[in-house]
């Protein structure tokens, strides 16, 4: 049965929820800066899914066990990123993040970084291909200046040049 998508509306109550959350973290985390996109860009997708190359991007702190873990001890966060070759065995991945409950993801990373599932969709022809590299950051960055000005443009450039048509972003 086809899933019914429903438009989600940014009601006044939801806007207040955001203001309350921001007020809390401005007090709770030293150096917090509020930063929102001034422009929301739009790239139309002209191809059917079955012809698209897909990659994954997560803010959930996923990385290879052999990688340097994200710095979760720093109260100012860690704006660096990790590359994840999409041919990697998911058993070789782990999560370093202290700001969400990843008990499930520790046992099966696919519940937030669905690389095995993406391979299955590719084998079944639902998507056309998988880009060679996926990317990960650790989403706790109270001051997102470096994230926005250094990490994000670099990741956008890499994802664009990798031939990916779609980047699916999941969060921690």
């Amino acid at each position: 049965m086809a899933v019914q998508f429903q438009d989600w509306h940014f009601s006044e109550a939801e806007q207040q929820k955001y203001r309350d959350w921001m007020a809390r973290i401005l007090v709770g985390h030293t150096g917090t800066k509020e930063r929102c996109n001034q422009t929301v860009y739009w790239t139309p997708l002209a191809k059917p899914l079955s012809q698209c190359t897909v990659t994954l991007f997560t803010t959930g702190g996923v990385h290879r066990k052999s990688d340097r873990p994200f710095d979760v001890a720093n109260p100012h966060g860690d704006p660096s990123f990790r590359e994840i070759p999409t041919a990697v065995e998911t058993a070789q991945l782990m999560v370093t993040h202290t700001h969400y409950n990843h008990v499930d993801a520790d046992r099966d990373v696919n519940c937030m970084f669905p690389l095995d599932r993406l391979r299955e969709l590719c084998d079944a022809g639902v998507v056309g291909g998988i880009a060679p590299t996926a990317y990960s950051i650790m989403g706790f960055n109270p001051d997102p200046t470096r994230l926005a000005e250094e990490t994000a443009p670099e990741l956008a450039r890499r994802i664009k040049t990798s031939g990916a048509d779609i980047a699916l972003m999941t969060c921690g």
Binding site: V3, Q6, E14, Y18, M22, N101, V103, N110, M112
Partner: protein, 171 residues
């Protein structure tokens, strides 16, 4: 395409396309060890791209999270050591039961309305009144199944995260 569990933040930050799922952070694609569920959610997340035609749109999936906080799948019994909150689990079960009962009640009211509409001797005002009350039961289901379940999920997951962080398990 962004998958979000906090649409008020996603909408404020501003993204081209997003899909909102009422699941906990860290479980947007579903539960551990459930590949069929994960595959279904990943598929609809990708399909949603073609349903969104203007920047900043967030679409919502109809799924609800019904595990509080982390009930272990048989293959993981004893493996998670996730914090358990028996009272919250009981509230979750009762919310589920209340939603089921409210849906049954709604179905009964629909039958009652169909009977009333087919009646050769209609009661003045009854059909409209039944329609109004069905709408109110819909609102009740929304409060229980969305707002109530969301609030419980956020409370339990926030506390579980704090407990896990304090226990040093997230390193």
């Amino acid at each position: 395409m962004s998958m979000t569990v906090q649409p008020h933040i996603t909408a404020s930050v501003g993204v081209p396309r997003a899909i909102y799922i009422r699941f906990p952070a860290g479980n947007q694609i579903g539960e551990a060890g459930k590949p069929q569920q994960q595959r279904a959610i990943l598929t609809v997340a990708l399909e949603a791209i073609h349903h969104i035609s203007s920047p900043g749109t967030i679409v919502e999936l109809p799924y609800r999270w019904r595990r509080f906080p982390i009930a272990e799948e048989p293959v993981f019994i004893g493996a998670s050591q996730g914090p358990r909150h028996p009272q919250a689990e009981a509230i979750g079960q009762r919310l589920d039961a209340a939603v089921r009962q409210a849906r049954e009640y709604r179905a009964w009211l629909e039958e009652r309305l169909a009977e009333a509409e087919a009646s050769p001797t209609p009661i003045r005002g009854l059909n409209n009144a039944l329609r109004t009350q069905i709408g109110r039961v819909d609102h009740l289901i929304e409060v229980l199944d969305s707002q109530g379940l969301d609030a419980l999920r956020e409370v339990v997951n926030s506390i579980a995260t704090l407990e896990l962080r304090a226990s040093g398990r997230f390193v």
